[in-house]
Symmetry: C2
């Protein structure tokens, strides 16, 4: 079996771009990925794109052929939708396709566009990732759902709003040098604590913003890279996916994310590494509590200990295990259907040494990307390794 | 490489089921597929589901975990959206996953639910498969788009409304014994001609109905089938996918479907067969003209000759090459996200000899399924073969 190697990555600026269409955004990300890879479009065998709610926000389903055209591709194109993990599954299936030998070059990524709509419409759209019958009709939206998860966590393991504010402040700090980030601005712990409440115990800076953006990565087989002299030092060596019940009420435990546990175990087994081998990670911090839960599912910390790690700075850029050096969903932004591809792009840049925050992980060899859908009813984890 | 074998298939009744939820429908199809396969749920490695517009019609995105729960599955679950070819790509990726050796048992299928909404809302929802900027905002909906394709066909190759009425009448005749069909009723050529116009030259019986329904197929590796003594005489021996520009204005030719040409070529090459080897086919007859175009893309007839074949009865149950013995989308119904899985189920039943229309293709060894999205901006073709 061949590894799937990352030949190139491309991102748009993440932010509010109401004047740009989805095809414009994805076309730019794809162009940048092709340029980074040095791989001609004609060699692309398949395109996998993630998009969550274009049929609601842009009145546009059937995004795959549209985004293929935008990227100048004529190969088979497929859309994946797994809520906020849409691009994660698009990448995962691309990895599988390359590994199977069926294709030498697959482009994976995603796009989302939301900022042109009123916030209440975006919130309603995002809520379609929850269980319509058992959550949404009761008035549940995602800030409320994650607030319940934070409360359950605090009840069982302890922790405070201040601990979560450390996550927000850290990720804003990390985003400062990232030119793709929506918010290149500092947020102190005090500012986060003073921000207005959204759904107690979560306040404004505990939540990721509304973001437009696109991501693309070019994956190639080892044979293709060798034959065409493609510089692709980073390989995706592990991929895993997990699924859980959507509705929180159907879960055994509201302060755990077993779908991510499963995805992580599968990805680690696949790569033949463990959590102790990981040097850097991008995780799905749609809310600050989500980052804490992610770091536990990934095995970096025991259940209940992720909050302490956040409090003590273990996951800062100068800590033992920097998390979300890109700024994360929190500060870099969360264009839902693009996020999973963005994480792969950011981990790749960090491992290659060309990320503005690479200096903080200069010797990093193993990176992880953790992408989740809804309240982690879906999770995709990838392990990336750079040639030592 | 192992073949992906069809261990079992399951369908709900296709029709108007406004009182049933999507999870109820898919759960029933999956249960029937498990029963047909004799494969326990615990052995399922992955679930691939097609759904086109649940986020619009049911306010429910993120369908994969929901439908996994409905099917009693805890494996990784992924939603595919490719407009009306959503389940086709879900099956295709399942085939690839089994072939790669990564999984032994994958369930693929789909679900759509529309009939609870007013027709104008369904039409608006379906139109999200067209190009929002360049078609929908100009007032284009699918009856209009296919009417343009029919006019272009008539202009170039000849053909009449009466020829298309033969397609409708044939498919209604085929649906008569199919207990899953929405319309088990005869429609004569005269009745079709007398029906009210929808978008000239297409009249009411040239269009498929609004349908709720679900489909599921259980695919297994050869090794799994042998080890567990699973009766799976039909294998999916070829899979292909093609992509084209969405907007008709961007096509070189409005009376051709090159995405389906590509998908067919890829699937035939993959299976090592050609159009002359095919004994029976289910094709995407969302409109009568679409069946004609499909039979040409599949290489059964030269461009411009499909209409003559329809007129002369070549594709009837007693003809040389029976098309849509299930009744097709036209009479069996078109629950958009389920259709591609239903076609695989129907071809499997026909080849196994347990379809109510199997008698008409008693010696059939090779079957084809052709599933298309939009005005064939996406196409998926599968070749199925039964052990001789």
């Amino acid at each position: 079996m061949t590894d799937a190697r990352v030949a190139g990555v491309g991102l748009t600026h993440f932010g509010s771009h109401p004047e740009r269409t989805g095809r414009d955004l994805f076309g730019q990300a794809a162009l940048r990925a092709f340029e980074d890879a040095g791989v001609p479009r004609e060699d692309v065998d398949a395109l996998n794109v993630g998009n969550f709610m274009g049929s609601i926000t842009e009145n546009q389903g059937h995004q795959a052929p549209l985004l293929a055209e935008a990227a100048g591709l004529t190969c088979p194109a497929t859309r994946y939708e797994e809520a906020c993990a849409s691009a994660g599954v698009a990448v995962r299936e691309a990895v599988k396709t390359v590994r199977s030998g069926e294709a030498d070059v697959v482009v994976a990524g995603g796009m989302e566009r939301m900022s042109h709509l009123p916030t209440e419409d975006v919130t309603a759209g995002l809520s379609t990732a929850a269980d319509e019958l058992f959550e949404v009709r009761s008035g549940m939206t995602f800030p409320g759902a994650y607030a319940l998860m934070a409360r359950a966590y605090f009840d069982e393991f302890g922790g405070t709003r201040t601990d979560l504010a450390h996550v927000a402040s850290k990720n804003h700090e990390h985003a400062l040098p990232n030119e793709y980030a929506q918010y290149q601005r500092k947020v102190s712990v005090e500012e986060a604590l003073d921000a207005p409440p959204v759904a107690s115990p979560l306040h404004l800076f505990d939540a990721c913003p509304i973001t437009d953006g696109a991501s693309a990565v070019v994956l190639v087989s080892e044979a293709y890279a060798a034959e065409h002299d493609v510089d692709a030092p980073v390989a995706i060596t592990g991929t895993g996916q997990g699924t859980d019940n959507i509705a929180l009420q159907d879960r055994d435990h509201m302060a755990r994310t077993p779908a991510a546990d499963q995805a992580a175990e599968m990805a680690y087994d696949d790569a033949g590494v463990g959590p102790d081998d990981v040097d850097v990670a991008e995780v799905h911090d749609c809310f600050t509590i989500a980052e804490v839960l992610a770091t536990e599912s990934l095995g970096f910390f025991e259940p209940g200990e992720g909050i302490e790690a956040a409090r003590e700075g273990v996951t800062t850029k100068d800590g033992d295990l920097p998390i979300n050096l890109s700024g994360g969903l929190k500060a870099k932004g969360h264009p839902v259907g693009a996020t999973g591809g963005s994480q792969i792009a950011e981990v790749t840049r960090l491992l290659r040494g060309d990320h503005p925050n690479s200096e903080h992980v200069a010797d990093a060899e193993v990176g992880v990307a953790h992408n989740a859908g809804g309240t982690v009813a879906s999770a995709v984890v990838h392990v990336l390794e750079v040639d030592a």
